[in-house]
């Protein structure tokens, strides 16, 4: 402090404010919101792995007719309950051998299977190829989930927007309906619907969607309520933009994070309900396979032929875990505050 540094005099020329214009420059390059979300999502390793897993499962489901080695519903009673076998590889548990009375026996030989036949995941009690059934079953379960979620969106989002946007008496009335629907346990509604409608894909979708939209409607309404008061929406209203235009141009984009995140939690829920209904026998009717019917069939034979249960159980759990974790990842990506504080 005491020593005064020696500095040449010309360094002390005043610059004045000629380059003051630079001062508003922001240090880091700015990203748009969506770019930022994507960047955060791809930084999250768990979310990326889940996204990859889900993508693989979806692709396999779409390509089911090409990928599945057999017709999933083709019965071949002579080939019933064969254990998994993968080519001629001699991997325990995948070599076609089965424990019978304490001895490991080649089940394929016993069934007089032609040389070279093998079922990677074995066959069920009607001799149907389990791998093919699982591929088709996953496909069906995903279709149920996607359709139910779509119906959810189609009812829940407009309902929430209208309720939140209109406010006042309309809102009160619409919220009363939401309250009543949500105070009835959704499972009961779903089961009642399933009993009344003919079992099948459409009924399951309707049954799941009839209670599922409530959560979405609630979230969207709350968000719309907040957005309504935002300056830019007020400005758009003052300028006389038509409601439809405000909804599509300003509301939906800002609601998208809420909607996407909620969707990610609706999908596993729908998959669960399908599996549950099929498991108790009022879901997808035979002979079609879904993850739920496969589990139900597998459970009956589980004690003696555990492989029939394991495969669908693992696939179902993986889908549930991956969608849940991806939902988490998306929430963190959309709202970094939720994970950083």
């Amino acid at each position: 402090m005491e020593q005064i540094p020696q500095i040449p005099k010309e360094k002390f020329r005043l610059i004045h404010d000629e380059n003051n214009k630079d001062q508003e420059k922001i240090g880091t390059p700015s990203l748009t919101y969506m770019q930022d979300v994507r960047r955060r999502l791809f930084k999250d390793k768990v979310a990326v792995v889940c996204l990859a897993l889900i993508s693989i499962i979806v692709v396999i489901s779409i390509l089911a007719p090409i990928i599945a080695p057999h017709n999933p519903n083709a019965q071949q009673v002579t080939m019933s309950n064969l254990p998994p076998k993968l080519g001629n590889l001699n991997i325990p548990g995948m070599n076609g051998y089965q424990n019978m009375g304490g001895h490991m026996v080649d089940a394929y030989k016993q069934a007089d299977a032609p040389k070279g036949t093998f079922y990677i995941l074995g066959t069920d009690y009607l001799g149907r190829d389990l791998l093919s059934r699982i591929i088709y079953g996953t496909r069906l379960s995903l279709v149920v989930a996607v359709l139910a979620t779509l119906v959810d969106l189609l009812i829940g989002v407009p309902y929430g927007i209208v309720s939140g946007w209109k406010g006042g008496k309309t809102d009160t009335f619409m919220q009363r309906i939401v309250e009543i629907v949500s105070s009835i346990p959704n499972l009961i509604v779903v089961i009642l619907m399933m009993i009344i409608l003919k079992p099948g894909l459409t009924s399951i979708v309707i049954a799941i969607a009839i209670t599922g939209w409530v959560t979405m409607a609630r979230l969207v309404r709350a968000q719309t309520f907040q957005l309504k008061e935002q300056e830019y929406i007020l400005a758009a209203r003052t300028l006389g933009e038509p409601s439809m235009k405000i909804a599509t141009k300003h509301l939906i984009p800002n609601l998208s994070s809420t909607i996407i995140i909620q969707t990610m939690f609706t999908i596993p829920n729908a998959i669960f309900f399908e599996a549950f209904l099929s498991f108790i026998g009022i879901g997808i009717p035979a002979p079609n396979a879904s993850l739920g019917t496969l589990l139900s069939d597998g459970q009956k034979a589980f004690r003696f032929l555990p492989y029939q249960m394991w495969a669908p159980a693992i696939i179902l759990s993986v889908i549930m875990i991956a969608t849940n974790l991806l939902g988490d990842g998306l929430r963190d990506a959309f709202d970094p505050q939720s994970s950083e504080n």
């Binding site: 402090m1 005491e2 005064i4 540094p5 500095i7 040449p8 005099k9 010309e10 360094k11 002390f12 020329r13 005043l14 610059i15 004045h16 404010d17 380059n19 003051n20 630079d22 001062q23 508003e24 922001i26 240090g27 880091t28 970094p336 950083e340």
Partner: protein, 348 residues
């Protein structure tokens, strides 16, 4: 005078999503026994982080990368968590900015005020609560006996801040750190809280570090003032030095933007143009240079050292270098210089 606290060359870094933020870049100051030191600066200048470093109450992503915090000559940064726990709320305590969120919403205020006593002193719960009641009376909570069992939401903002103060002083701390204690309050309540702090300082003889961005508040409470900008101190001295003989262009800017009794209706209040620098990449020279109308080439190249103005008054600006040109400060500052002369000061 006794230096009870001395901060030397403090550096604090924060790990963030965008990189490391060098929030504090070499801050040194000291606190004398019984005095009130005000640290002034705009938001983001690092004043809160500086005082939080004293108690080591930084957010998890913050680290003190360099420096010393000497309390009676002991470096607090070398102490264990346990030893720090013994000091916090006992020898050194803190008052927070927002009384609406600083109190535990699910605990009665009596228990909250008594808590430091139960942690630090070997007293019975009954005695602690009794003492809490006395302190609540001291800070001006009416009818404390009845209100001990109330919850925070049953009090107004000003009363809550009094309760926060009661918590801080219940164990008669040597040092009281007040982090913008009046910012969240109404102007009338602000004055009451300042008066309360002054009164308490006399009664219990504590030293106060008072953080604020409001120079108007400083005049009423501080003995000495340190001005902070972008993670460094730029000027420090007595209240009179800073208010009537400021040397740093940033201090000029702060004072120039503050209304005084002398301000005529026709006078415009001035503001400092621009925004503080991004501390992810701190500037090489004087951080204030881009906003400084009196900036010189040297300001962009080299950080100015502290130049001595008078015995306890220092300012870090190249304008005080013998080779620097003579500049004319804003009119309101010249008025202040006039006043300083009347006070018997020696304007440079």
């Amino acid at each position: 005078m006794d230096k009870i606290l001395e901060v030397k060359d403090l550096h604090v870094d924060f790990d963030t999503y965008n990189g490391v933020v060098h929030a504090i870049r070499g801050v040194s100051f000291h606190l004398n026994a019984g005095e009130t030191l005000a640290i002034v600066g705009e938001s983001g200048s690092g004043k809160s982080i500086t005082v939080r470093s004293i108690l080591q109450l930084l957010a998890k992503n913050g680290t003190i990368s360099k420096g010393e915090v000497l309390y009676h000559g002991d470096d607090l940064l070398q102490k264990s968590d346990k030893e720090m726990d013994k000091l916090r709320g006992n020898k050194i305590s803190m008052i927070f900015q927002d009384p609406m969120t600083s109190l535990d919403p699910t605990m009665t205020i009596g228990k909250q005020v008594a808590e430091p006593l139960l942690i630090h002193n070997n007293v019975s719960k009954k005695d602690a609560l009794k003492r809490a009641e006395e302190v609540l009376r001291l800070v001006g909570i009416p009818n404390p006996q009845a209100r001990m069992n109330d919850y925070p939401h049953q009090f107004s903002g000003g009363q809550r801040q009094r309760i926060v103060i009661a918590i801080a002083i219940v164990d008669y701390p040597e040092i009281l750190i007040a982090d913008e204690p009046t910012t969240a309050l109404d102007v009338t309540v602000q004055a009451q809280i300042i008066d309360l702090l002054k009164e308490l300082q006399q009664k219990i003889g504590t030293s106060i570090i008072f953080i604020t961005h409001d120079l108007g508040v400083v005049a009423g409470i501080a003995d000495r003032v340190a001005v902070m900008y972008a993670g460094r101190l730029v000027e420090f001295g007595s209240v009179n030095d800073i208010f009537y003989n400021p040397q740093h262009p940033y201090t000029w800017g702060l004072l120039d933007s503050m209304p005084t009794l002398d301000t005529n209706e026709s006078d415009r209040l001035n503001s400092i143009p621009g925004t503080p620098p991004n501390l992810l990449n701190p500037p090489k020279g004087d951080a204030f240079a881009p906003r400084n109308a009196y900036a010189m080439e040297i300001d962009e190249e080299q950080q100015p050292p502290f130049f001595k103005v008078s015995k306890h008054h220092y300012a870090a600006t190249w304008l005080l270098h013998p080779n620097a040109p003579k500049v004319t400060p804003p009119a309101s500052i010249l008025n202040r210089f006039e006043k300083f002369k009347k006070l018997g000061g020696n304007v440079k």
